[in-house]
Symmetry: C2
Subunit: 315 residues, 2 copies
């Protein structure tokens, strides 16, 4: 049984980067614990220093292994690393399946690394907000690099990846060609492409297809999106990838894009928080009974869904 | 340039199953046209007869081809078929990439089939609502089978698939084993599994892995989830799949699950509609200037995101 921590004590511990308060504090955020607000307020004021990197891509692309290797590469450069592994599909199973977290064993025991898995609870947009909040906590706790890993490339996962400063999209030769990446909306969000498992057949062709597709697009900034080849299982190419990520941070800072992006992210986050509060206000205002009656009216086709929603929202 | 249609004329045309009004009416819904409400009200009252089948699975599983074949199989049984192909990731690209719609060429010219692609605009939850609304329109227009196809298995795609009466999950031998399916939350939502491209190596093993994983779960209803093998490109197994889907409809009807599910779906949809209206009310109430000021306060760290959201939501 973990030691009970007083709120102010926990917040002090988090800001000092202590592991037990950190783990507890993040659970507060996940569970929307009543004391989370104070923790978040304290952390927000001290955040803004960490470099946040979103790592997304289809299941099976080897993201967990890559993230592990990348964390090691950052550690070798003296950075401290927090890893946030996000599984947005788990509302269906009630909890994340964390089997491949085991692979991160090689980082165990390193106190300059903190690994945390997060599953979604409640609303859709909530996951991106919770992720950003957890990153604020790691940021305030003094971690200098935060890696946000998603399990797949669904819309909510892309949103999560986009809470970061830089978004890296990991593909494998078998992910199919550039058209698939375009279909999944990945071309629009990637700052860096990674062709992982690049020792497999077709890797060069697949990387080339991505490069060609990128060249066809109108440049949207001065950053030329690189396609980095890695073999995460052996570590090949991972340090070059780390360099490329650092270069992107440099570019973001130099061009003013870092500020612009963070502003956009914050605007989006504020919007989600307002939505949540509007809904909470509605739930306080409109009784379960009134909602049940409206549903019956729709089922019996006395009202259409639109009419019922109008009535409920205005009550 | 399409002929301009008067609203009442369009609604009559839709209810008579005419193609031009149908296409136009669906665009109204997608674009949240001011006349969409009246169309939806008219259609809702007449809906509830079509059997809605959601077809989801990872990109590259051959869903488009399978849906095409399945539509043909239903046509051969005298059903009329509407296909709704949904691409939730396209907010990033501004429009769905509809290349593989071309494959549906074999259905072209058959007036008992209507194919419609939908991209998401605006809010996340909106896509599931729009899909349900478009299905209501097809339902009211007299189509007896509605196939809802998603491009991938992200959370919003699973939500879309779950607006249906039955959800079929399409995998291929390369999709990896049952663990991947569990990770993606597919075990929880599938009523029928399809192992497509089952002429490939490893298909039997992959199907077996799914069956084994299914057996480990506590049965949640009297329905035993089948795993059907198909080769969509040749049509092999597709008619058996069609039979299985019809069996599931029979099961849903007999057990009362059809009613229960539709009730749940409607409750979810009502919730989304209320959310939309709450947000619209907020946007009317709080000026862009007030929102901009709040964002500045957060950026300058005079307020935390939480405090700013609280202030905005209560104003």
């Amino acid at each position: 049984m973990p030691q009970l921590l007083e709120k102010s004590q926990l917040i002090r511990g988090v800001l000092a980067g202590e592991r037990v308060p950190l783990a507890r504090g993040i659970s507060w955020i996940e569970n929307e614990h009543e004391d989370a607000a104070e923790l978040l307020d304290a952390c927000y004021a001290r955040s803004g220093n960490a470099y946040r990197i979103g790592i997304t891509g289809p299941p099976g692309a080897g993201k967990s292994t890559l993230v592990t290797r990348l964390a090691t590469a950052f550690r070798e450069r003296g950075e401290t690393v927090a890893i946030v592994a996000v599984d947005p599909t788990s509302p269906f199973s009630g909890g994340a399946l964390l089997g491949d977290r085991v692979r991160m064993g090689e980082l165990a025991g390193d106190r300059g690394v903190f690994i945390r898995s997060m599953a979604t609870r409640g609303s859709l947009g909530g996951l991106a907000v919770h992720t950003a909040q957890v990153c604020d906590v790691f940021d305030a706790a003094g971690f200098t690099r935060i890696l946000i890993e998603t399990v797949g490339v669904g819309q909510s996962e892309l949103e999560v990846a986009q809470t970061a400063d830089t978004t890296a999209v990991v593909l494998v030769p078998e992910s199919g060609d550039a058209v698939q990446a375009m279909k999944a909306g990945l071309m629009e969000i990637a700052d860096v492409f990674v062709m992982n498992k690049s020792d497999r057949e077709g890797a060069e062709r697949a990387a080339h297809a991505i490069r060609s597709a990128l060249e066809l697009r109108a440049p949207t900034s001065g950053w030329r999106i690189p396609v980095e080849s890695t073999v995460a299982s052996t570590g090949q190419g991972v340090d070059t990838l780390r360099e490329r990520l650092e270069e992107h941070l440099g570019f973001l800072r130099g061009s003013g894009d870092l500020e612009r992006r963070r502003r956009q992210r914050l605007e989006q986050r504020l919007r989600e928080l307002v939505r949540e509060r509007l809904w909470a206000g509605y739930e306080r205002r409109v009784s379960a009974e009134a909602r049940r009656r409206a549903l019956e009216d729709v089922l019996e086709r006395r009202l259409t869904p639109r009419q019922a929603a109008e009535r409920l929202a205005n009550s």
